[in-house]
């Protein structure tokens, strides 16, 4: 049994303009000690997937279907009481912006100890010791002195370390990192990624890494999910996704990023603009921007298909290719 099982998750936001299907049938498994990357553009539903797992959606958002099982326990519809035992204890989350996720009016020590005492039966003294220990773990110098300081006295990279320390204080089984390095500079990003990698090995937790940066994914992840317009278009091991992409959107993404080898030729962008979630097309959501789109793509969504043991994709092109191999007529 996988540690986390998400099946056909559907989350919608109910706005005055209509229902926005932000997550539209997402399924995946996560095992102990694995790093899963979720990539996609803004509005692809990658963050909403994470917020749905934690059930920290905004008021207008609601899980409308599907199941999320943690260690065999169903979380959808489980209620606040159960979620409180999960959040922070079993599954922790760190957010993109370390500037706004700490309270500016309390000391770092106060905020760390608050989190620790809320989730574990430690007294104040023990919580203090644990907080200092956690700060040391994430390489914050002079942790005793730092405990007394306020967030404004910390740089962006240091704040993100504090957030990681807070998230890991209760030794969660899963850490969800929502664009943890997007707001940071490259050299600081390298520090934080290095830290996350070594902590992951040391503590053996699973990580869900949400990002739009394919470089971060390549470096961190064992397995990758590519999302577009609320659904998964491709999923597989990192090597499969990068070297053998089987969905037209993933292929487009790979062609459109500058790499070290292609600096003379122009980039090959994906044409068109991101999709409007209020006006979803009937067929494949990527079809309007897809250069290889066929008639069927406009009419009907492709089911996820198994490419090989480590790879799934939802693209009609694979059906066409399989047909052509057998000598059939694709159209």
């Amino acid at each position: 049994m996988a540690l986390l099982e998400v099946r056909d998750l559907r989350t919608s936001f109910f706005t005055p303009a209509g229902e926005v299907k932000a997550v539209n049938g997402v399924s995946f498994f996560l095992d102990h000690g694995k790093v899963l990357g979720i990539v996609g553009e803004s509005g692809s539903g990658k963050s909403v997937t994470a917020y749905s797992i934690m059930q920290i959606l905004e008021k207008t958002g609601r899980i409308v279907g599907g199941s999320i099982k943690f260690d065999g326990q169903e979380l959808v519809g489980a209620g606040e009481k159960v979620m409180k035992t999960i959040r922070g204890n079993k599954i922790s989350i760190i957010f993109q912006d370390p500037m706004t996720s700490l309270n500016p009016t309390y000391t770092i020590g106060h905020q760390l100890m608050e989190a620790i005492m809320l989730h574990t039966p430690r007294n104040k003294k023990q919580a203090y010791d644990r907080a200092v220990e956690m700060l040391r773990l994430v390489n914050v110098n002079e942790p005793e002195k730092r405990m007394k300081q306020y967030p404004f006295e910390f740089s962006g990279g240091m704040r993100q370390r504090v957030m990681i320390a807070m998230a890991l204080a209760c030794e969660p089984d899963i850490l969800i990192a929502d664009e943890p390095t997007t707001a940071l500079d490259v050299t600081i990003q390298a520090q934080i990624l290095e830290l996350m990698q070594s902590l992951q090995k040391e503590l053996g937790m699973a990580i869900i890494m949400i990002t739009h940066d394919l470089g971060v994914v390549a470096q961190m992840c064992d397995e990758v999910i590519v999302m577009y317009a609320g659904s998964i278009c491709e999923q597989g091991s990192a090597d499969e996704i990068f070297y053998n992409p089987k969905h037209e959107y993933t292929k487009g993404l790979m062609r459109s990023i500058p790499t070290v080898d292609n600096d003379d030729s122009p980039l090959e962008p994906i044409s068109g603009t991101p999709i409007d979630l209020l006006n979803m097309p009937q067929g494949c959501p990527f079809a309007p921007r897809c250069d290889a789109a066929m008639k069927i793509c406009m009419r009907q969504r492709c089911e996820r298909m198994q490419i090989n043991d480590w790879h799934q994709a939802a693209c009609w092109m694979n059906v066409k290719e399989a047909f052509e191999k057998e000598g059939g007529d694709a159209e």
Binding site: V186, L214, A218, T259
Partner: protein, 326 residues
């Protein structure tokens, strides 16, 4: 390199901001401290560095959006000194800003946004001519003519950036400062805009100063790249040269810190991880600004700022101990 080939030249540029540190005391923040470089006609110079290193200030001071504290700015072989010079200079230069959401006035239509520079400098004889110029600009950046009467909020990020670019091209500039023009855009849209920058450069013979923190994007678009750290320029060379043979220890760290979108290379990549954070520019270290984080720092580094000198053809570095570790 002769004087004539250089379109823009900067000599010993300094930009200090006075920061109040107490009720009666203030201290200069050396955002840009003694930077000299030249940009050749028709080339793209990439400017990279971490936040707070002064790269945006260089771009803005270069266009006289900030009055330089000290130093000279030369354009087309002529020094920019008087108010009249600055006015003329501004007609030939333009800026593209990072955030396409806040750099466009939400109460103006697209045609008014693009037409505003034309209005300011009175560059048309009749309304029909103005309209014609605007539509021409919109076509250049790939916007539909029917978009002219819409407002900025009706567009996506990529399209807004196109509007901003059309506005900056309205005066027919020779030199454009692009301040992080693609970092607010999604990956799939980024490539569209980068390609457009390339095409416009070929069509109109533009010269760019391209400021960005995404090193792969900068490498793709630039002919030469300059690296800044804490207000000082530490290295400048051809784009390939600086990636293949970085000489300054900071550039080395920067290059190795880039996450490569390739799992095999990422696994092999030996990263040099820097310790600590960038110091505050208010309390910049003495001598070389990088010495507090530099793995090779010696006593000499604390005493004086190393000279920014040419070590091989077109490759400038400012480091005391370069010979030792290279």
């Amino acid at each position: 390199m002769t004087e004539q080939q250089n379109l823009v030249e900067v000599k010993h540029l300094k930009e200090y901001f006075q920061i109040n540190t107490g009720l009666f005391s203030s201290k200069p923040l050396k955002a840009v401290d003694d930077v000299s470089f030249a940009i050749r006609k028709g080339e793209t110079l990439g400017l990279v560095g971490e936040s707070g290193c002064g790269k945006t200030t260089v771009g803005r001071t270069l266009l006289h959006l900030y009055k330089p504290t000290e130093g000279e700015i030369w354009f087309n072989g002529k020094q920019i000194v008087t108010k009249q010079d600055i006015l003329e200079y501004r007609k030939k230069t333009a800026m593209v800003f990072q955030d396409p959401y806040s750099s466009l006035n939400p109460r103006m239509t697209v045609s008014d946004i693009i037409g505003e520079p034309l209005d300011v400098h009175k560059l048309y004889a009749s309304k029909a001519e103005r309209q014609e110029k605007i539509l021409d600009l919109m076509a250049k950046v790939g916007l539909n003519s029917e978009h002219a009467n819409r407002y900025a909020h009706e567009f996506s990020g990529g399209q807004r950036q196109r509007i901003g670019i059309a506005r900056s091209l309205a005066m027919g500039p020779e030199f454009v400062v692009c301040d992080e023009p693609v970092s607010a855009l999604d990956v799939s849209i980024q490539a569209q805009v980068i390609n457009m920058f390339d095409e416009l450069q070929n069509q109109m013979g533009l010269t760019y100063l391209f400021i960005a923190h995404d090193l792969l994007v900068v490498r793709h678009i630039s002919d030469r790249i300059a690296v800044m750290y804490l207000g000082k320029m530490v290295e400048m060379a051809d784009a390939r040269e600086i990636y293949d043979h970085p000489l300054h220890p900071y550039t080395k760290c920067l290059m190795s810190a880039v996450p490569l979108p390739d799992p095999k290379k990422a696994r092999e990549n030996k990263r040099i991880v820097l310790h600590g954070d960038i110091p505050s520019p208010l309390n910049a270290p003495s001598g070389c600004p990088f010495r507090t984080r530099c793995p090779y720092a010696t006593a000499a580094c604390a005493e004086s700022m190393p000279e920014f000198k040419e070590v091989s053809s077109g490759h400038f570095v400012a480091c005391h101990n370069m010979e030792k570790f290279n």
